[in-house]
């Protein structure tokens, strides 16, 4: 059913994206691309005391990729880098079939309906793959702009 895919909260985030915009002087800046469809997001984050103090995104893409990015910025803002990475792991696991922990994923469970539409899974994971790539680069001391591709992970 279409309503499983386009849950109200997803359409709301698509129509009214949270934390949208560029972040000057970001510590993390990642370009995420989905080569199979051309969706793009730019993800920015400022790190203070090991936490994601500010997270923003810009992008062009479908409702699922943009809503997922918007929901992600809300979910990881204020989290420690490790906790953000773990949340991304959990989110990706949900998208690949694992039963989610609603307590930890909260609103993000709305995106699990995407699972029934296999081509769209990469739309939902795009922002998260980009986030993890950014966190890895930051940890490695390479905070410059990098490109992450949702194709590189299944």
């Amino acid at each position: 059913m279409l309503q499983d895919l386009y849950r109200e909260i997803i359409l709301d985030h698509y129509a009214h994206p949270r934390n949208r915009g560029k972040l000057e002087g970001a510590d993390i800046a990642v370009e995420g691309v989905n080569p199979s469809c051309g969706d793009e997001i730019s993800l920015y984050a400022r790190v203070r005391d090991g936490r994601l103090e500010e997270v923003r995104f810009e992008g062009r893409g479908c409702s699922i990729s943009q809503a997922s990015a918007s929901m992600m910025t809300e979910a990881v803002k204020g989290k420690s880098l490790d906790a953000a990475h773990e949340l991304a792991e959990e989110f990706k696991a949900m998208m690949h079939g694992q039963v989610p922990d609603e307590g930890r994923l909260g609103d993000l469970v709305a995106l699990q309906g995407v699972r029934r539409f296999p081509v769209r899974i990469k739309c939902a994971t795009l922002a998260w793959v980009a986030l993890q790539q950014g966190l890895r680069e930051y940890a490695a001391g390479r905070p410059a702009r990098v490109v992450a591709s949702s194709e590189d992970e299944l």
Binding site: L2, Y6, G38, D39, G61, C62, S63, I64, C123
Partner: protein
Amino acid sequence: MPIPLDVRADFPLLQRSVDGKPLVYLDSAATSQKPRAVLEALQRYYEEYNANVHRGLYRIAERATLAYEEARAKVAAFVGARPEELVFTRGTTEAINLVAYAWGDAFVRAGDEVLVTEMEHHSNLVPWQLLAQRRGARLRVLRVRPEDGTLDLDALDRLLTERTRIVAVAHQSNVVGTINPVRYISERAHAVGAVVVVDGAQSVPHMPVRVGELGCDFLAFSGHKMCGPTGIGALWGRRELLEAMPPFHGGGEMIERVELEHSTYKDPPHRFEAGTPNIADAIALGVAVEYLRALGMEAVREHEKALVRYAMAQLAEVRGVRLYGPKDPELRGGALAFTLEGVHPHDVAQVLDEQGVCVRAGHHCAQPLHRALGLTATARASVYLYNTPEDIDALVRGLERVRAFFGLSG
């Protein structure tokens, strides 16, 4: 003679429904549906005379060889060519790569230039990028005019130089449908001594194509877009060019005499068909071109032109729809890329699927073209000989539903 109304009955898949709704297939630019005759030819080969070609001395092997070579003759005749100039390949992509490697590596040198267009499918762009990197050649680009999706031909003569070795161009765009003036481009390219490689994947299935009239040097096309099976296609090349080319793949079937240290090779086309070929699908492609010939390619073209005219008029009535490419159906084929304001193409296609309407969304393997249009993605409806005005009506109804679903007013 127009396309008969009962032509749809020839295509088993078009009889199917999705969730109780009739299947409306508007993605033939990606792959066409197959008539029963083609499916039966595949079955018959495997059940009655499955044997390897060019080798066996027994009767079913002779029959397989004969059918395979007859298919070559039919496919060659379909584009006005001789069989000895037609190489079977996996499809357009392999055909273009064959030229890029076999001709390109032999004749393109450092400092030479390869001219491509901004409109190309990635299959007629990436092989040339790779060739340029291998040979130290320079890639030059003929741009697209974003306003109507046509090539900026005014720049052609400036981009063609005495260094231009290859000009690679699509006969018809797989996104915006533009039919390019290949004959004119070939004449200008030949004036500087370049060879012209034409991607015919979107034209050979949809209009009469004669290599002599195109004036090009190579023509690549795919069977699965023209009622044939997947995994089979063809490269036509001028005899003297094919003869001058070293092999692409080495192996059985393509050799004359093999010593331990070196070998001699067969003449074209067999020189370029190493290994056991795709016998069944080649034979079935022969049946597909017979099917198309019986309908008449003029009739196919006229049918699609009428559908495109109807679709353009109907889509113009849907609020927020923007169509890309030439406005005149005479100048374009049946690929109709569009956007719906306020809804991403993926979401458009997803909601259309719910209505049983199959369209494609994304960059359609033409990212540079989308960039030229200022887009990352479009939705694309594409028509073929079996589509009807009712299919277009279903698309329009589906788009109204998309608007309603995403809360667009009016």
